[in-house]
Symmetry: D4
Subunit: 183 residues, 8 copies
């Protein structure tokens, strides 16, 4: 469950706890994601890493959805925030770290230039995650999505604010890499 | 080079041959793709498979672009054609074959339902490749692209007719899987 | 009347009851549809069947409008729910049941693939009923409507969320079939 | 095959004739539709009537596609032309004739008011067939399609210029009525 | 002032009355229009008639704005309501009355066919007034506006819900006719 | 007939002349309009004036259509060209002349500011005639049409390039004024 | 900070005051802009002037954002209000004043004709600032933005309601002029 | 004159030469721009520099229009080509050179990220010049224009392919700087 407030998380915890006293229900403050596990849940663990990169603070909740989903699938997730292209030093400082991931999710709103720049810097597959910041013509994430579709770099995209889908696709790729490592 | 006619391919062959008598220039009749290699070219070879699935015959040229690009990167490419959802038996007959791939590209125009159906049937990551068939409202691939963005299944997408990008992203995933297998 | 809350239904019941103490006013909890009949109302009855198929739970209220309207006209209505194409087994399990109908309404949001798949499986006329689920580009039912307009199968469509129109058109076809049976 | 010129029809005739000397290939001058039948073809015949109504001369080719398709399925087809709403007398003069049909296809471009008016005049199911006449904002059939989607009368629609789909859906309804008559 | 509730009208009356005890402030219940006149106001009076025609009850407030504005300019205003094209008898019954006007405003939402039909029936200039009824694709008055722009009849249009502009333009034409009558 | 080349005009002249040796066929070089009259044609004559104002030379052909149509109806037509708002002196120089008309058509493309400016300067009814000049976003007359729909001045509009409709509506107003003068 | 209400401004003042007792926090009533300065802040001062011109009262808050930003950068700002083109005298009366500026920001909504007219009257660079007034088709500032993009005069534009960006760009130009004057 | 082929340039040269034997007519091969000067023409010369930056070779013709126009006004123009953001090293290598300009025009198509990146690197005012490269959704320069409107950096924009306007506005700023330097 994503984008839940604290009350909803508590309600979920109560319902879940009634059925399974050993169950855990955790809510991430930053993203509002709620993760519930049965008491006998064995968390999966993949030998594969996902980087979740975000351009600005407004992109954090959507990037967080992707991170939580990839994490639940068992991938190691590394979050890199606040590296928008209006100041290139920030992204250049983090590029070595991002290059360690097997797959990269890049969340950006407004003009959405960051996925193109990151995909130009790394060799791993990049998934663009357009965010519904912005206003006026091209607002609500439209310019960011179109920017991903028109990118000069190689990347694929999900719909605006589709953090769940970006995280799940990153998880599928991480799983494929993990399985190959295990062969 | 993609979507070239025979004359263009011949012209390319002539120019290339002048500079490097050992070079090869091949044109794929179905897709119009032209691939040129230096005489001392060592084709890369990846231990990873890409399935390129197409809904109808009109999708073949765009699917072909994806196949050629993934193939050039060194992936084993399996083409599955003519499995549009208006007759489900066709796709159900091919599903075991598609499940053998490490990553799947699905090309479809019109209402573009095939990527959603395929992503529901396989566990590998799926890349939707919307094709500019169709007419009237939602034509020129717009409905197919929006269908990929709205999909109930987990998948990512490229722009309309972006066979090159779909093939290149599939190639990046294949490369990551190959590298993991080699570890 | 469709999409009414309980209070509105009660108010209607009170007003109607004042004028005609034998009148009945019923509200369907799932759809919010309210049906009022005079005390001496003779419900029409048609020898014709309408199937109302819905992809997911989010589509129930709109599908319900179509079902109530077709039912009021006198058709036998069969509701088939939760058969979205992300899991083909569900729709394949229900196809014999759907094939018994004289006309089929298929409600689906997001990428709206279900009407195309159903129309490929049955010989009766299919009416697509796009639902305003979905978000981002192609959201608010636009992708689902465009998917119906671009369908590879033979079908006609109504506007987004137009459950009343879909049900009424299904009723007109049911009436034509009933009249032909009565000849 | 629809919208073929005479040369194409001749080429088809030649190819078809080579394989089956008894085959027939006919081209309708008005619509450019070409219909080919094997020498031992038994035309289907339905006890059901389809009216194909067109607003103006510019709508004839698209209306013709619908008529040919419905006719091939075996329905009796009645064409009513030149009854645009800018002069109501024309449509009012033909209404009795249209009321004899079991299902009605109404082709109109520009503002596309005719399907709404006809659906208000008849009890049979009406299928709107928007035509890509018109220019400027709302041109290329968009206003006509949106007019059908917004209609105050009960009707369903196909995409702009989708004469084939309108005729095929009318054929499916005619077939259902024919089957009911035969019971 | 248009679309004001009763409280606003009272507030206006109070403010206006403070400054000019003889002033009048009237609010039209149906349209919410408020008209304030100084105590020594001499209402203009034109020898010219404006018909304001509306398709349905939902169009009344916007049609009312046009009527109030034309009336304030001094034109004789005749309101003709509830004459939508889904039932042609209603408009045919009123056509003689509408033909008496020097200029006609026609308000309609949804598919907006009424302005085209009225302009085909009368010789006076017709101003289309699209109304923001409708829903889904083409909703919010877009189909109605595009229908006016694509009309097969001769007419001009204002923007969606622009009752003030339609009434003011009708007033300018009425004034021109009045001046000509006075010559 | 509008926008015809010289050859078409000649062909029309020949056909018309065969049937009616006294008939006249004239083509206006600037607009490509062709006007054919029977030999015994009595041109109508209205005691009313239409001004047709155009912003730039690119607007001349469309403005010409309006002028020809208004003229054929019998109105006195005054053409005022090349008065775009980027240089206000030009329109201010012509304003007295434009004020003599009973109704004004104003053709403008690009940002289409001229109809708003003219309607602010004259008391006669103004009809905006958006022209499909312009390029990029808002091109093909869209910005000009939207500018007319959003105008701060009182005016009505026709669709992009609809010179015929603008001229015909101006003619209807001229006829109403002429009739009033004749009373 | 722009578009803040009084309570927000007070909260900011309190927080800022805690850290720096000499700091000042000022809120402009008209625009809702809040400007905070450290106690030892030395306001920059540029030898360059920016004119901020607004068509109507509805444009004031957005124009105000531009003015505050340009002012903070140190430019001399001259505000010219209520000079919409529906009454040309108003803008003609102010043109000498506007000509004194080194760079001009012009805010306008609806049809947005004012930037084009001003850019035709002055030689300084003009920045259009489209405002989200307006309704119906072309509303929310779209017609105004497209009008700027299609302008017959030389000007550049920012997005709808982007007062901050217009003011900041005007500030950059003012700074360049100031630096050149200082050489 | 811009985008002229060689034949057109020759025709212009011939016409111009007839009237003024000393006149010069030059055509720039790369951009197709034609510049004609009277025999006694004194080229203006401004003490101000314009950088015209282009992402890729496809952007050269449009960037060239801007460069020719700025140059004709008298500015010193520096062209920086092939610095698209898919490879950041290219733009980082040129940034010192670009920083020497008083105003910068940045031409880019596809996702149009370059203007945002450049505006983040330099202090001079930046004018985005979106180019109509790209395909599918967001193609024809739409994504690039929307990217400029949504930019996280401070910049203004012109319409798609409006090289003339970008160059002219850069020229106006250069002129203002030159005048300030001359004071
Ligand atoms: N089992 C389900 N439960 C809830 N929603 C569903 C389900 N299956 C499909 N949907 C929704 O149905 C729509 C499209 O389904 P389909 O046309 O089958 O691809 C979307 O609104 C989906 O989110
Ligand atoms: N008599 C006619 N001749 C040619 N086209 C017509 C005629 N009547 C209507 N149309 C066209 O029919 C379409 C819409 O008609 P309607 O739906 O009746 O308003 C438009 O394409 C009109 O231009
Ligand atoms: N005097 C005024 N008072 C209020 N709004 C105005 C005024 N003049 C123009 N406007 C508005 O200014 C915008 C366009 O002005 P313009 O470009 O000058 O035609 C629109 O938002 C108008 O509604
Ligand atoms: N080296 C290049 N050669 C040709 N086109 C390029 C190159 N780099 C970028 N482009 C194009 O430039 C536009 C946008 O580049 P950018 O601003 O870097 O995102 C697109 O049209 C790209 O396809
Ligand atoms: Mg890369
Ligand atoms: Mg899957
Ligand atoms: Mg079927
Ligand atoms: Mg009916
Ligand atoms: Mg008429
Ligand atoms: Mg006026
Ligand atoms: Mg200027
Ligand atoms: Mg900067």
């Amino acid at each position: 469950m994503t984008r839940a407030d604290e009350a909803t998380a508590a309600a979920v915890a109560s319902v879940v706890g009634d059925g399974d006293p050993g169950a855990t229900v955790d809510r991430d403050d930053r993203t509002g994601s709620v993760v519930a596990h049965a008491g006998d849940f064995e968390p999966p663990s993949l030998d594969a890493a996902v980087a979740v990169v975000a351009a600005g603070t407004a992109d954090a909740p959507v990037a967080g959805e992707a991170a939580v989903v990839a994490s639940e699938v068992g991938a190691t997730v590394d979050r890199v925030d606040d590296v928008g292209v209006a100041n290139l030093d920030r992204i250049l400082d983090q590029v070595d770290r991002i290059r360690e991931a097997d797959v990269v999710v890049v969340a950006a709103g407004r003009e959405g230039a960051l996925p193109t720049v990151v995909a130009g810097l790394v060799d791993a597959p990049v998934i663009a995650l357009p965010v519904s910041t912005g206003y006026g013509v091209g607002g609500e994430g439209v310019a960011a999505l179109e920017g991903a579709l028109q990118s000069c770099s190689v990347l694929t995209t999900v719909n605006v604010d589709a953090g769940f889908v970006a995280g799940a696709q990153a998880g599928l790729i991480a799983r494929a890499v993990d399985a190959a490592r295990a062969e």
